[in-house]
C-alpha cells in the first residue's frame, strides 16, 4: 500500500522509505513560527532549563525561524508591551531576521503571513506555537501546532517526534453554490464528525470543488481542521498551489504528492450543491445548523476578522454584500495582514465598508481570542467569521458567538438578525 501525502512528507523528513499510521518518528523540521504569546512561553522554557543547569547557547537555525506579533498588538496593556520587548530582544540575540513587527511594514496574523509572505513551501514540515498552524497545510505542507516545550525542543534540535497520523479524506464533489463558502463546507464537516472527530488524525481535502477552489478559500478549510481535533489539514499541491507560491517567493520547492494507491482511514463524500449557508451556534463549532433554521435570531455585533475569515477573498465576499447599503448593528472589519489591508484599500473594499457604517481596524487577533480590541460583554451576541465559539472565547463567559462565513456575517450585519446571504 502506498502513502498519503502526510505520510510521504513525514517519511522524507524522518529518513524512512516508508512510514505507516501510528509509527512514532523524529522528523526534521523545515520552518518554525512563534508569536507574541508562544514566544515568551518558549523563552520561559529556556529560562527554566537554565535554572536546572542546561544552558542553551545557540538556537539551531535562525533562518528557519520566523516571528509574528499578532495576539496582543497594538499592545493591550503593559504586560503585552513587555512581552513584545522581550521577544524582540530574544530575536535579536538569536539573529532571527524574519520578525514581522506591528507598525513596521508588513505584519499580521501568523497563519496569514505564513502563506501571504511565501514563508512555507509545499512539501515542508512546518511547526508553529499556535494550534491553527494547520492552516498552512493548504499549500501541501505538513503543518502542525505545538506547545512551548516542543517548540523549544525544535529550536535546539531541529526535529521533533510525531506519531504518524491516519488520514481522513474529505471529497467535495459537485459544484459550489454561489452563496456558499469554504467556511460553510468545513462547518458542515465538523458538525458531522464532531470536535474530536479527527483527533490525532490528518484531514485531507480533495474533489472537484477543491480543484476549482482558490487558495485563500482552501486555507479556510485547513484552518478549521483544528476545530475537529486534527493533527494537520492538507491539500495536495496542484497548479493553483504552484502559482500562488511562485507569486510570493523565488525559493524552489519539492511539491510532494501522494502515491496513487495511498490508503485512507476513511473517505467522506460531500455533494457541495446540497450545502447551505450555515452557522455554528454557541458554544461549540460542531453545533451547526442552516442559517434559515435560525434566521430570526437577533444579534448585537458582527465581526469580520481573524486568520479564518479576514483574508482578501473574505473581505471581497463581505464587501459585495455590504456595497451601497448600511449596517444595522455594530460591525468591525479587521483585515488579517497589512498587505491584505492595503489591497483592500486599492480595490475600494475599505471605502465600501466605511460607507456602510463599519469600523475598519488594524490587523490583530484582537477579539477573536477575547484578548482586546472589542471583546464581548455579558449576554452580548456576536456573529463572527472566526473559528471558535467556546464559552468566554471572545470575551465574557456568558457572551454568545455564532460562527459563519463572511457572506453570512455581512448579510446579518445589514439586518441585525442572523441572515442568509440569499435573502438580502
Amino acid at each position: 500500500m502506498g502513502m498519503t501525502i502526510t505520510e510521504k512528507i513525514l517519511s522524507h523528513a524522518s529518513g524512512y522509505n516508508k512510514v505507516s499510521p501510528d509509527d512514532i518518528v523524529f522528523a526534521d523540521v523545515d520552518k518554525v513560527m512563534i508569536h507574541d504569546v508562544s514566544g515568551p512561553g518558549v523563552i520561559k522554557v529556556f529560562k527554566e532549563l537554565e535554572k536546572k543547569g542546561k544552558y542553551i547557547e545557540n538556537i539551531w537555525d535562525p533562518d528557519r525561524v520566523w516571528i509574528a506579533e499578532d495576539h496582543f498588538v497594538p499592545a493591550a496593556d503593559k504586560i503585552s508591551a513587555d512581552n513584545v520587548i522581550q521577544l524582540t530582544k530574544w530575536a535579536q540575540k538569536n539573529g532571527i531576521r524574519k520578525h514581522f513587527k506591528y507598525g513596521l511594514g508588513q505584519y499580521g496574523i501568523c497563519h496569514t503571513l505564513s502563506h501571504e509572505e511565501g514563508l512555507i513551501l509545499p512539501g515542508e514540515v512546518y511547526v508553529g506555537g499556535d494550534s491553527h498552524t494547520n492552516t498552512t497545510g493548504a499549500l501541501g505542507a505538513f503543518a502542525a501546532g505545538l506547545g512551548h516545550t516542543d517548540i523549544a525542543y525544535v529550536l535546539t534540535h531541529g526535529k521533533i517526534w510525531f506519531k504518524v497520523p491516519e488520514t481522513l479524506l474529505f471529497k467535495i464533489n459537485g459544484k459550489k453554490p454561489l452563496n456558499v463558502m469554504a467556511k460553510d463546507i468545513i462547518l458542515n464537516i465538523i458538525s458531522d464528525i464532531g470536535t474530536d472527530g479527527a483527533n490525532y488524525k490528518a484531514m485531507q481535502f480533495a474533489g472537484k470543488v477543491i480543484d476549482e477552489m482558490e487558495m485563500e478559500e482552501r486555507l479556510t478549510l485547513t484552518n478549521m481542521t483544528t476545530e475537529a481535533g486534527a493533527k494537520n489539514g492538507i491539500i495536495e499541491p496542484d497548479n493553483i498551489t504552484t502559482e500562488y507560491v511562485k507569486q510570493r517567493t523565488e525559493s524552489n520547492f519539492n511539491a510532494i504528492k501522494a502515491d496513487v494507491d495511498a490508503e485512507f482511514k476513511e473517505v467522506f463524500e460531500y455533494e457541495c450543491d446540497k450545502i447551505e449557508p450555515s452557522v455554528a451556534k454557541p458554544y461549540s463549532p460542531e453545533n451547526v445548523v442552516a442559517v434559515r433554521e435560525i434566521q430570526s435570531t437577533e444579534i448585537d455585533k458582527a465581526y469580520i476578522g481573524s486568520c479564518t475569515g479576514a483574508k482578501l477573498s473574505d473581505l471581497r465576499a463581505a464587501a459585495k454584500i455590504l456595497k451601497g447599503r448600511k449596517v444595522k448593528i455594530r460591525t468591525e472589519v479587521l483585515p488579517a495582514a497589512q498587505s491584505i489591508f492595503l489591497k483592500a484599500i486599492k480595490e475600494g473594499l475599505v471605502t465600501i465598508f466605511m460607507e456602510s457604517g463599519v469600523v475598519v481596524g488594524p490587523p490583530t487577533c484582537g477579539a477573536c481570542c477575547g484578548a482586546h480590541m472589542g471583546v464581548l460583554g455579558k449576554d452580548e451576541i456576536c456573529i463572527s467569521t472566526t473559528n471558535r465559539n467556546f464559552p468566554g472565547r471572545m470575551g465574557h463567559v456568558e457572551s454568545r458567538t455564532y460562527l459563519a462565513s463572511p457572506m453570512v456575517v455581512a448579510a446579518s450585519a445589514l439586518t441585525g438578525k442572523i441572515t442568509d446571504p440569499r435573502d438580502v
Partner: protein, 164 residues
C-alpha cells in the same frame, strides 16, 4: 513516579477546552505560580482552593481541546494536579503535558468515568497500569498503557531530559 496516591476531583464534562482551563486574557502571563491561581477559572472559580498537592482530575473526553497554550498543563500542574484521567485528550494538550513533564494524561475506559466519584481516594500504579479506588473497596480499573517512546519521555521527566 510509578505509584501515585491522591484525591480525585471530578468534572464530568466533555470537550473541556483550554479557554476554560486558562482563559485567553491570562495568555500574556508567563509566571507559573500566577497562572496556577487562575486554573479552571472558566468552569469552577473555587478550583484552586479545592486542590491539594498530588491530586487528580477526572474529566470527560477530548480534554484540553482548543488552543495550544502550554499555560493549561502548567496552570493545572502548579495548582497541584499530578494526573488527569479521561477517555481521551486533545493532541496538543497531551503532548504538552508529557513533553513538558508537567503532569500525566492517563487514558481510561469511558465506563470508568461513571464508577469513580468526586473526592474518591485513588492509587494509580503506572507499572501495572491500574487504578485502585481506596474509597470503593479497592475496586480496580485498567488504564491504557503509554506507548514505548511516550513512557520513556515520562520516565525521563520530559522531552529535554529524554533525548540527551
Amino acid at each position: 513516579m510509578t505509584m501515585m496516591y491522591g484525591t480525585v476531583h471530578k468534572y464530568n464534562r466533555s470537550n473541556i477546552d483550554t479557554d476554560v482551563i486558562i482563559p485567553g486574557p491570562y495568555l500574556k502571563i508567563h509566571d507559573h505560580e500566577e497562572l496556577a491561581t487562575h486554573a479552571m477559572e472558566g468552569i469552577d472559580s473555587d478550583f484552586t482552593k479545592k486542590i491539594s498537592d498530588g491530586d487528580f482530575l477526572l474529566v470527560g473526553h477530548n480534554f484540553g481541546c482548543g488552543s495550544s497554550r502550554e499555560h493549561a498543563p502548567i496552570a493545572l500542574s502548579k495548582s497541584g494536579i499530578k494526573a488527569i484521567l479521561s477517555p481521551s485528550f486533545a493532541r496538543i494538550f497531551y503532548r504538552n503535558a508529557i513533553d513538558g513533564g508537567y503532569l500525566l494524561p492517563i487514558e481510561i475506559d469511558e465506563n470508568v468515568l461513571e464508577k469513580i466519584d468526586d473526592k474518591d481516594k485513588l492509587e494509580i500504579d503506572l507499572d501495572n497500569n491500574t487504578i485502585k479506588n481506596k474509597t470503593k473497596d479497592n475496586e480496580i480499573h485498567k488504564i491504557k498503557p503509554f506507548s514505548k517512546i511516550i513512557s520513556e519521555i515520562v520516565k525521563a521527566g520530559g522531552l529535554f531530559n529524554y533525548n540527551k
